[in-house]
């Protein structure tokens, strides 16, 4: 298991990608796994940056291998609750002209993971996603 904190800014995703790449290499995991991990983390991290402006604290990203599963945990400190498991979904089946902006990132996350959990405690939001590893 590895965990690192990243500053609350969009440009941090470049450093997160390096962190993910290092974890995958250390565990002998394929680029396929990096692609999906990067995408899931980018969507969740950028949502935290955009919608939890009340906090100035860094965001923690944890990567863990559990058998055939990759477990990714993001912790956002000193924020109001935002339950991603209850958030509205993007209207991906509507004609493109009728689609509203927003929600696509979480929609992609839901499509790409096997499980998503949310916990809120002591003003800390914790999102944990699990995805089966590709061989």
């Amino acid at each position: 298991m590895v965990e690192r904190k990243f500053s609350r800014a969009i440009h941090s995703i470049e450093h997160i990608f390096e962190f993910v790449s290092g974890f995958m290499a250390a565990n002998g995991l394929s680029q396929e796994n990096s692609f999906y991990a990067d995408l899931v983390i980018e969507e969740l991290f950028t949502n935290m940056v955009k919608y939890s402006k009340e906090s100035t604290q860094d965001i923690a990203v944890r990567l863990e291998r559990d058998g055939d599963n990759l477990i990714v945990t993001l912790r956002d400190f000193d924020v109001d609750a935002f339950d991603v498991t209850r958030a509205g979904d993007a209207n991906v089946h509507r004609p493109i002209a009728e689609r509203r902006r927003g929600g696509l990132g979480l929609h992609l996350v839901r499509q790409m993971v096997d499980r998503i959990d949310y916990r809120y405690e002591d003003r800390t939001s914790t999102i944990t996603v699990t995805r089966k590893l590709e061989r």
Partner: protein, 94 residues
């Protein structure tokens, strides 16, 4: 790393990773174009919802002007993301 280049006026070539930190730069380039467009994904390794948002906006604007807009040479992972986004049956992908 992300690069966007306009080749011969009608082909937009994307290279590298189109993520949230690069989406504004890509958007600026697309907004400067008003003609039929082919977007070449052959050297694009990664795209997130921010990048897809840029493609959706460009598609709407270009087709609203009566021009064609198509995506070509997507790798299987990126093509799958467009499928998850429900765009593979909306935007022409070859």
């Amino acid at each position: 790393m992300f690069e966007i280049a306009v080749v011969d006026g009608g082909i937009v070539k994307l290279t590298g990773r189109l993520d949230a930190s690069q989406a504004d730069r890509a958007q600026l380039v697309f907004r400067g174009l008003a003609r039929p467009l082919t977007v070449d994904f052959s050297d694009l390794d990664y795209i997130s919802s921010a990048g897809i948002g840029v493609i959706i906006e460009a598609y709407k604007r270009i087709t609203d002007q009566g021009h064609s807009f198509r995506l070509v040479r997507l790798n299987p992972r990126i093509r799958a993301v467009f499928g998850y986004a429900g765009l593979d049956k909306v935007i022409p992908i070859e």
